[in-house]
């Protein structure tokens, strides 16, 4: 049991609406495991690769031309901060996968800069996930994953891959960057699945 320091409150406020172990924050902490990629929008691409090798690619202009949604969601980071009512605009993964033929159950999300994270396909569909490119009424800033990031708010936010550039369909689950470093393979904040074996 850690020693409590008188008068220290830090940035974290408890709130009964939050998943276990989380604290509410008003700011938007920037968490990054490496240098921020700077991506030329003329070269930006998002690619879905199926387990059979099929490829579907969208350029930046093509992404912006797709039907988009404005969503307001709560987000929960495994480092314990949560932010409620965050506003995003993005393209639903359902839209992107509409013409993709796959029988795979799992997906690896890939990002510029090399980051990866794995998810079950069923957690990306049915209105649960987006490729988001606007946050809080503005274009998504590079340090928060811009130009576009994956947004999967029902899982810990490390699954919402910043600088996303593709989805790889996988028949079997395989751990991504943090999952292979000791974080939980699935990451449900409501069951507090932070670390391997939780």
């Amino acid at each position: 049991m850690a020693v409590v320091t008188r008068g220290f409150t830090g940035r974290g406020h408890s709130d009964p609406k939050l998943p276990p172990g989380q604290y509410l924050t008003e700011d938007f902490p920037v968490l990054s495991a490496g240098p921020t990629p700077r991506i030329d929008l003329n070269k930006w691409q998002f690619t879905v690769v199926t387990e059979a090798g099929g490829r579907h690619t969208w350029s930046w202009q093509e992404l912006l031309a797709l039907p988009s949604e404005d969503v307001t969601v709560d987000i929960h980071c495994v480092t314990k901060w949560s932010k409620l009512g965050t506003r995003w605009r993005g393209v639903s993964i359902d839209t992107l996968l509409a013409d993709v033929e796959s029988s795979a159950d799992y997906v690896m999300a890939h990002s510029y800069g090399g980051y990866t994270t794995n998810l079950p396909l069923e957690d990306l569909t049915d209105g649960q996930a987006w490729i988001a490119y606007r946050f809080d009424g503005e274009n998504l800033a590079p340090e928060h994953g811009g130009p576009a990031r994956l947004l999967v708010p029902h899982l810990y936010f490390w699954k919402s891959a910043k600088w996303v550039n593709g989805l790889e369909m996988m028949p079997e689950d395989s751990p991504g960057f943090w999952e292979s470093a000791g974080y939980h393979i699935y990451g449900d904040p409501w069951r507090e699945q932070r670390y391997y074996g939780d």
Partner: protein, 88 residues
Amino acid sequence: MDPMDYMDGNMLAGELREIFSMDVTAARGRCAGCGRMGMVAETRVYQHAAGLVARCPGCDAVLIRLVRAPDRAYLDLHGMSFLEVPLA
């Protein structure tokens, strides 16, 4: 332009001393990516992440990852092909 939002491996000293009985930051390692030799203290450490990530100052490859849970730590050193540890 890299905004230099990293620290260096000196800040790993406390975390690694909870795991090892010696100071690892004064050890030299070889980057499994580019072969560069350098002190762990001189790696680029990104601390504002879900865990601590130390990268090679030469090629940015990940050298070390450390995830802390309340009662255990997960340490990945596979980004270094070896660590040279002074014993004398």
